[in-house]
Subunit: 229 residues, 2 copies
DNA sequence: CCAAGGAAAATCGTATACTATCGGTCTGCC
DNA sequence: GGCAGACCGATAGTATACGATTTTCCTTGG
């Protein structure tokens, strides 16, 4: 018998599938179904769903089941506002702590973002956009801060999946480049302002009101595992 | 048969017991034992322990059990640094959004803190100290931000339980009062500086290196429930 | 032909039973 | 007398089984 995956691995698979959009908002996450996909009983699926619920990217409706979260318009605004508040502090700390190698690292991510966009790889581009903010947090050298930013970024993924109008997305490139310049200059106030403007820009390009979201089968989302569904 | 508590109620009981220090760092949280205390099977205890683990106030050692977290010296520094970074953004947003009624609310909390300290009620005083920071976050009107601050404050409770030297504690009163004045003035930069100074003060009064922590029985911690242990 | 009611299927939530692993202790040997 | 190794009790982790609730579909009446 093929040995089963660890809880951490299963968690990571589901988390990535949601953040990368393979499991769209509203998708049903059946316990037995997921258990079959990963070859374990639902006993080990439950705590994983609860953990994802803690991070607000899954919602559990009592006696009905777990679903990928579909953040409301209010949720979308609140998460974005929270990012403006918290990442202001983060970018200030990062500006104080930034070394040349950090700046270089950030520019590399933006370059990769550009490349992904040029090659029409929307999924990769979106992943790197989030990665940029996490990397910025990492400059602070504080894992607690990094984890909080990561959580906020993952929640924003769902907002983007639901509300981003098809064409947009390129605006973040300029915002990131501008932000790096301010950090590189060491101007903490300007960096903070750039961060708020950037996040507000992202918010403004959303098409709140019109929820998108195609449906996809669970086994398709985990097709790379090569297991039966 | 007496109807059993909801998961949320059980969670709250354990959470409060830890944050208020009735369950000191290092305390063993046996699944069967907790199940008996609350009159449920361990099936419902497990997800609660996992949730507390997510919040980093409980650690689960595989095949050994769950324990109230005993943050290392490094953890203590990191949580404090994270608070300085994040609450800087929070206090700036709060300063921009503050209304007179908010200032009044904050001053009331400090007054209550003073009263608790005067009446030698250390537990209540400590609770109000945390409440002050949560209330400040609440001024932003953003639940996401408030939850994050609440989590950081609860983690700090364990640090204080482990490392605070017996005598100290009064320093936070002056820091809070000073902070309110800066917020009331609307001077965002001064408020941010006051927040950082205040949190640094708290850090500096800790006696890192010497871990305290008396042990207490589980049934004592939940004595107010009136159930058998 | 549509709507309302009910029954059956599906699925979630909980308890119980079982297995694996860990810590403590007792014994035997050095 | 002290240390090492094995046994035993305790407890965590997992699966299975069962009860509760919802959803779906079919039947029946208007």
């Amino acid at each position: 018998m093929t040995e089963s995956m660890t809880d951490a691995e299963i968690y990571r698979e589901v988390f990535d599938a949601i953040v990368e959009g393979r499991l769209p908002p509203g998708e049903k996450l059946g316990q037995d179904e997921l258990g079959k996909v990963f070859g374990v009983s639902k006993t080990r699926i439950r705590p994983i769903l609860h953990r994802l619920t803690e991070q607000k990217i899954v919602v559990i409706e009592p006696m009905r089941g777990a679903f990928v979260a579909r953040p409301s318009e209010k949720d979308a605004r609140e998460v974005n506002a929270a990012r403006q508040i918290i990442e202001e502090g983060v970018v200030r700390a990062a500006t104080r702590a930034a070394q040349p190698r950090h700046i270089k690292q950030l520019r590399e991510i933006v370059a990769a973002e550009q490349a992904a966009r040029d090659s029409r790889n929307a999924g990769q581009a979106h992943r790197l956009t989030g990665e940029f903010h996490c990397e910025l947090a990492r400059i602070t050298g504080n894992d607690v801060v990094t984890d909080i930013v990561r959580e906020l970024v993952s929640r924003d993924s769902l907002v983007v999946a639901l509300y981003q109008r098809p064409g947009s997305g390129a605006c973040s490139l300029h915002g990131h480049a501008h932000l790096i310049d301010r950090v590189a200059e060491g101007d903490e106030n300007a960096a903070a302002q750039a961060m708020r403007d950037h996040l507000q820009d992202v918010m403004d390009t959303l098409d709140l009101g019109e929820k998108r979201g195609r449906s996809q089968s669970l086994s398709n989302a985990f097709a790379h595992l090569g297991r039966a569904g």
